[in-house]
Subunit: 155 residues, 2 copies
């Protein structure tokens, strides 16, 4: 489904709300929502420390919820909104869930695998390719990360 | 911890037992065990269809179990045995869990990310690098995959 710029910003604001949950738990503040036909079918935030589960990144949590909602591992006709560029694991998971469209806020130059270190989502050798858009609420998404790491360094 | 060739084959046989569980469920037959100090602390098999969860590959299931067992997302001093070369998602998950050693049976030329399509586990740009060994019970691990896909094509 195609969304307007305004709709995309609304969904990214929902992803930012998820990031705020992570922030309140003193986790790296990244949030994600998965949308189908204009409705959020999965939400997630980074919960690695809270749950002590290595794979519990925002995107994986949202994919797990959306799989449950759909009773299917295939998330066809969905759009995944995430505040920060997905890492290697999450980019792989997005492909495995067959998510056709990904929109992220800000780049992650150190760990990003959707344009920074790798181009996993658009690699023609893999059997699933994703339509990728970046820069929606980029400043807000990046700012939340910068504030978190600045505070952490000050401690 | 260093294991002898015989010990490695014993652990790979345990991973193959997990692959057989997947096979019995008509899933792509891949199995995994995570070992610490000579003891298996997490087992997993591909359960994507059974559980309808896109991320439920053998390695992720084993990492989740080991995280639970250790009450920690960090799987320090562990060795992960998996029958087939990990995909992009699982290679990323192995790094995120800080698993220091990975041993796999057979290559996966189409989807492998630990030597075939990518070298995620040994990429010096990432903040965790893995000691990688391949070829333990390679024939047995590859055979199980070949049998599965041959039967699937015949249907």
């Amino acid at each position: 489904m195609e969304y307007t710029r305004e709709e995309k910003e609304e969904f990214m604001l929902e992803a930012l709300k998820e990031a705020e949950i992570a922030l309140a738990n003193d986790e790296i503040p990244i949030g994600c929502v998965i949308v189908k036909d204009g409705e959020i079918i999965g939400r997630g935030h980074n919960a690695r420390e809270e749950l002590q589960r290595a794979v519990m990144h925002a995107e994986v949590m949202a994919i797990e919820k959306a799989n449950q909602y759909e009773h299917s591992w295939r998330l066809l006709d969905t759009t995944l909104f995430v505040t920060i560029e997905p890492c290697v694991m999450c980019s792989g998971a997005i492909g495995l869930a067959r998510i056709p469209q990904v929109i992220y806020g800000a780049k992650n130059p150190k760990f990003g695998a959707a344009g920074s270190l790798y181009d996993i989502l658009t690699d023609e050798r893999l059997n699933h390719r994703v339509e990728l858009e970046t820069g929606i609420l980029e400043v807000e998404c990046a700012q939340m990360m910068q504030d978190f790491f600045r505070k952490r360094r000050q401690r």
